[in-house]
Amino acid sequence: MSDKGNNSPISGEEGSAKREVSAGLMQYSPENLMPFGPVHPALHEPEYFKLILEGEVIVDAIPRIGFVHRGIERAAQDRTWIKNIYLFERICGICSFAHSLSYVQAIEGILQFEVPKRARYIRVIVAELERIHSHMLWLGLVGYWTGFDTLFMWIWKDREHVLDLIEAITGNRVHKSYNTISGVRKDLPENISEPIKREMAYIQDRIRYYRDLVSREETLVVRTRGIGKIDAETARKLCPVGPLLRSTGIARDVRTEDPYAAYDEIVPEVKTSSQGDVASLLTLRADEVLESCRLILLALEKMPSGPTKLTAPRSVPKGENAFHVEAPRGELFYYIRSPGGITPERVKIRTPTMANVLTATSMLKGYTLADVPVVLTGMDPCFGCMDRISVFEVDKEKQWSVRGEDLRQYGISHYKTKKL
């Protein structure tokens, strides 16, 4: 590994070409280096960011991943196909349904199963409910990191309505355990259509209000508009997925490009935004929630009758398959290979955060330390994240650590003195 020169994995054109950046910690010396992570339950996939500061401005950010490798892919090789559904659901609490959906559909591809139509419609309903609750969680978190706690509490209060619906349908708020190979495990409960219609009307009403609020309220606008900006050209190079990509104006969505479940009949409208900053992510995600509400009502209306699952065999014939779904955070990819037996030979998972992490570091460049929480939340890593980071100032041989809460307070006070 060469020590001198631009070996930043993201190779920003102006930022890193000017100064000598190298992999060794002490060779950053003219700048201030702030290691972000890794020994805290930081992000959805625990990550470590080397933030190189010049004064307060971030000139480069280098991610390093893989610190909390749980070995789930290896663990899957010792478990049967059915047991793995529950294992993969636990990769992520927010998009647990998307994980199991991608996995079971990959198996159904090898088995060449025709999943009952009613099961495919139910999958759409639960997947969209999950998208609503994930996006609302994120909208609330942006409120929290910008110091708008009231918004955070309001949105999370309204999110409970969605979680109650999910619990009524699947039996659990988070780990839904609803998918099985060849369909869904239970039919929709009786008399569920009336509560769904009622709650969707409520959510649509509230989200329209929040969408209006986030684009007008100065507290939020100052902290988000023009922050973490990324253009379509950079986005094409770095290949982000999901809302992060769509916020730059590129309309890519697995649901329309490669329809799965019943998305070929319930066609979503792909929402985009042209700004590419955190403010546009706010309005974009609000728009996607409204779109999800429309899809749920449409699926409920067109819901066919019939069985919801078939009898699946315990073993899967020899073969391999790859499948991708649009999880709330973006494209989620599964590859499975079966040796012809009751356990998989190999499972490979690519989660959306993995695809987005380079873009997030690129988004940080040129913004201040006070913007780090908002921009990193912008890519929707995971909640309960930044609870401790260490700050190094290399030239002063000084080191101290900052808790996530302190960084949040710092961000709020920074903008109070500067702009508000």
Binding site: T150, L151, N172, P189, L213, R216, E217, E218, A251, S274
Partner: protein, 141 residues
């Protein structure tokens, strides 16, 4: 493809206190949160809580052990019984409910409908052994 034009939003102009109306409205509402330990918490009809077994219906076939993703269930040798002239080993399941993830796969796969998930969820305990369920063993013995 629908473009949400943020520049249109910026024309509206920013102002502080756009949420004041909603703040006043919610300030005089009753609290949304429920004081849970002092009142009953409601769960959905399908809520998956603590696992329960009907020892009479259980035949000891062992399917639940085979499908459990969390290794909660172990089949235990309980004795022998005579079928005609042959002696056949009998087995019954024990449940280490402290590792149970309440997925309900065993309930789905039990042909004899011996298993069910209750609505009980207050399972915190200082004694791990209190979450070992061996009801089925006792009936046989």
């Amino acid at each position: 493809m629908v473009e949400n034009d943020a520049s249109e939003d910026s024309k509206k102009g920013m102002k502080v206190g756009g949420a004041l109306g909603e703040m006043f409205r919610t300030a005089f509402q009753r609290p949304i949160t429920k004081k849970y330990p002092f009142g009953a918490a409601q769960v959905a009809e399908r809520f998956r809580g603590k696992l329960d077994i009907d020892p009479v219906k259980c035949t000891g076939c062992g399917v639940c052990e085979a499908v459990c993703p969390a290794s909660v269930i172990q089949m235990v040798h309980t004795g022998t019984r005579k079928v005609g002239t042959r002696e056949i080993e009998t087995k019954r399941p024990t449940f280490d409910l402290y590792t149970c993830i309440s997925c309900g796969q065993c309930v789905d796969d039990c042909r004899f409908e011996a298993l069910r998930l209750t609505h009980e969820f207050e399972l915190a305990t200082v004694d791990k052994k209190s979450l070992v369920m061996d009801k089925a063993l006792k009936v046989v013995n």
